[in-house]
Symmetry: D2
Subunit: 353 residues, 4 copies
């Protein structure tokens, strides 16, 4: 039995039951796809109607977990099924544009894994297409649904932290999870950019990035980015696939207080340090005074951000809402990624975004 034949087999084996739930087809079942499948399966108002991947061995186990789910190796089957309202895409970056575009043209709502597309031009085209088709285009910026990230957002809005001066982020580990020759910037930086754009509610003016490929020629596995925001706010990002220990740590320095967000901490993920430095202004030759105060770790709810993301997508479809992480947000992130890549190719030259 060839793969295609087997695909046919799994596709026709039973009729889909009627339901009021949003029927979803999920394309791509590599590293991240199974998490999407599991969470959409948990969302009460959603039904995982079809799963598609080039490799049948990856999707066959879901026959048992989601009896009645249809499997296929051909994404067109998903696009052409009128019962499917929404398509979720978790494939390699370079295929995002083609698959998301086809889904939109077939009248589906679309959730694309981050980043939205492999180039700014493609991302722009998807945003336009979604608008024309009047369909929802959402991007999987999962951290925007993370309770710790949301908590920090609240803190920033409350004024308790003061004006942000700089943000430093370290997102490193051993290993990568994609296979189409994109570098570490395209893999890990989307998280940071989406988070930081949300926190600062601002867009960077320029970027300087520096990367190096150690293991596979031409594919940077280590990179350092400097982002300049309006008003002198800075962000520095360190991403790596070649690090001895996993680190997920972001530091926010405000002129009132400082925040440490360590995503690997079990309990105290967010710490607010009542610390700072100030010039003694009355002094003719001003000195710097440092202030060291208490450290507060607010209670962060323990929830899976991806579940919120999936629920939000379904909610937007059912209630005609604009997603929090819509195509525009996805486009912004791709703009930063493309500019960063360009800077890396130019040995760290500043690139306007």
């Amino acid at each position: 039995m060839s793969k295609t034949e087997s695909g046919e087999l799994y596709w026709n084996h039973r009729k889909q039951e009627k339901s009021t739930a949003v029927r979803i087809g999920i394309i791509g079942c590599g590293y991240w796809g199974p998490n999407l499948i599991r969470n959409f399966h948990e969302v009460a108002e959603a039904e995982v109607s079809a799963i598609c991947d080039l490799r049948l061995d990856r999707i066959e186990p879901f026959l048992k977990k989601i009896p009645g789910v249809r499997l296929t190796t051909d994404p067109k089957k998903v696009f052409k099924d009128p019962a499917i309202e929404a398509v979720v895409i978790a494939t390699p970056i370079s295929t995002h544009y083609g698959l998301a575009g086809a889904a939109l043209r077939h009248g589906k709502h679309v959730l694309v894994e981050k980043p939205l597309a492999g180039t700014v031009r493609e991302a722009e085209a998807l945003v336009r297409l979604a608008r024309r088709q009047k369909k929802i285009l959402m991007v999987g910026h999962t951290f925007e649904y993370h309770p710790a990230v949301l908590k920090i957002n609240d803190l920033l809005k409350s004024g308790e932290i003061g004006d942000i001066q700089y943000i430093d982020s370290i997102r490193v580990n051993l290993g990568l999870y994609q296979f189409d020759n994109r570098n570490v910037v395209w893999d890990l930086v989307p998280h940071d950019i989406a988070i930081i754009l949300g926190w600062l509610n601002a867009f960077p003016e320029k970027v300087s990035a520096w990367g190096q490929s150690f293991v596979k020629k031409g594919v940077e596995d280590v990179a350092f980015l400097r982002l300049q925001f309006p008003g002198g706010v800075l962000a520095h990002l360190h991403v790596s696939w070649l690090a001895p220990a996993k680190i997920r740590r972001m530091t926010l320095v405000g002129n009132r207080k400082m925040i440490i967000y360590d995503d690997l901490e079990n309990v105290e993920k967010v710490k607010i340090a009542d610390q700072g430095a100030h010039l003694s202004s009355e002094d003719p030759n001003p000195r710097i005074n440092y202030r060291m105060g208490d450290i507060m770790s607010p209670r962060i709810p323990v929830t899976e951000p991806l579940f919120y993301e999936c629920s939000h997508f379904v909610d937007c479809i059912m209630n005609h809402k604009k997603p929090k992480t819509d195509g525009e947000k996805g486009l912004q992130v791709v703009r930063v990624l493309e500019a960063s890549d360009k800077s890396i190719k130019n040995h760290g030259r500043w690139v306007r975004i």
Copy 2:
């Protein structure tokens, strides 16, 4: 009583006893000076003969701790005292050249706090002067005497780690300890550069640095440096006086194993991770394989590096040895600092060193 008068008072109050120990005059008693005084006082073959600082209130407490020590606000008194063989300088950077030069010209051996001088030109002049005077010129690169740094040096030499691919260093905290308008690069980076030059036994070709001043205009309190070494080895440094938590963490990625050196860990300061990534070479379309193995933390002796440094200085004087951290090493570090500062002024442009 004016300060000068009081200085006279403390200078003449008693005769220095004879001894075979190396008599040392210490100039500068701000943040670091007291540590030098305490350690030289502990070195059996040394005698803290005189202490000098512009502020008498800083040095008077030592009358009790080191009975018989002479105090002065005038460094010339130290230089002119024929009984003093060696001078230790722990003053602001901009004064290093003047004070160390004067000491050498008066025939003293000199230990200067890092960095050796405030410019390459000054550092070069000091190296030449020491050579001409046939006196020892040593720089206080304390971490070169740190048992963890030495342990890593042994590991690198043994070949266990393989070839170093990149080094990442974070040296941040809240607060600075100098007051002559030098930026954070001049304060914190000398440690990293001295350590890394020692480990790699190589000199960087170029540097790109990016800094920003938040608290005091024109004095960068946060900086990021990228150093390119021959053979493609990289080092990235993050230094800051504006960080919510103190971090002293260096990561070395070799093509065999990886090392984490966390100086704030009480026990496991050095960890060797038996991890790595390799291309599956036999594959026509090679994939990357990741290896995750054991983590080993070697026993590191608990000792104060500064005591070793002080003992080494005395040993070099008594036995006519070349210091491990001599003027040449100090000059190398200043070359990197000056180039980094230039790069910061040029918004991160690469500067040849």
Copy 3:
């Protein structure tokens, strides 16, 4: 529609499909039951055929996750279904004996959550019953399937640690997960006892336990246990539902090396310290010499122990194997629990086991 009617509804709504998989009925869907359901659903050779709980709202969500599963509020329905081969019991302790007994009498294989039963007498009866019925009786001592616990077992067998002198365990957190007035000993201590009996391959001679109830009168929420093993080996356990921070930490002191097992560590769960103390034997007045060496953290596979446990249960059924954590093991643990409870009631008096 009454609960019972609704139960009927869900029970009859469809025929069970034929399959070669072991059909399992799961009774109890409170805190732990859902984990068992999820894992048995993942085991390829198993089929979650029926779920039973007194509260329909707890089990209804599984209709979507496991289409075709039958739901009931009446455990008898599960026992009487001839298609069901095995019953899994995750109910309050006091019901274990009744439910497990009924299941065995109906010819089912049984997996009971720890502890096996609420008294030694009940546990003994279950062991006898299972033997008579020639059915498998297994207890959910999950930690016995934990890769870190297994790794330590290997280390102990290898002789690298030497003879164990004492084991100290801390298992504390805020909150409890059961509701039938059993104290913290019955909730948390089964883990430790199962682990320690496995490691030492020995049974304690006596126990002294001390507990106190702070929140609910008569239900101890904090307890300390001392266990004496043959040959002078000791174990000390601290369990609590009233602790500010979750701790899962076991320390093994051998006469060659020492082990720390911290289950909350993400990576370095197990650390082997090459340390010890020895009498200087040649000395007439012997002194104690302490040795401090390297610390090694072996790579521990990242797997869910419960999945192994569930797979093992199915494997034992299909291949007529004796479970690693069989009724006898469960009985041993209950013996220790009952003796501990007795000691608590007697203010810490030593109780023979």
Copy 4:
């Protein structure tokens, strides 16, 4: 030259200069003595006038550090010197009574290292003697001068924590620092008892202790203590010389909030967890509700407790004050130690204190 002769040599080598400072003789220069010497040397109003130890090699190095200090191997020399006002005793426990008694009888104020004496009878005699002699008798309960311990004291007094329900303490490490066959209880427990008596402002009614000797027969190197205070408050202590990692951690569970005090944390030594458990009182069958809130770490000043202790001793002498840790406090601690030892000898039997 015999030891005594050498002692004579060092004793007579120079006249003591006049000063208004309190002249102090320090007896015992093993593990802890040097710390006392260093700190008293730093106290402005004190003068380390004489140091005594049976081993000259231990005290000779102080000739350089404290020029003019007199050295002796004979404590009587210290007692008989009329210029010495106060004697500090840092010798093995069994000598405390003899030395402190002699010092008091010679009219000296006395600071004894903890514990005050080796038996309750001796401790009582010293308290009586000090009262009769109208001299200060102070015990070196250093932790009572620790800013973290004081901070917790403030928190307890403020009512923020509510009523204390239980305290759990772990004080373990590898190695011991005394050599007169006293067990680990006499070495480590005095710290905990002094701290806890201070916090609770109460005295325990009874103790049950369990110890075991692994390395040296008859000298327990591991012990567990249970202390019962009036009103049902409990304290549990774990002390050990045979632990793979150093732990200094105390947990206080109040009925409002909980506190963790980890003395090995560099920054966040004290954490206040806004957590608790409460019975839902309105319920006829009450359930326990758990509350998980923020965690706050107050700023703790970085100071050396021993310096405060030494300063306090001198202050009490100069200003006729009653020491915070006077002989009565020392006697209370000894009462608990003696009772604990008795309980250990009786296999954990409860002993009234």
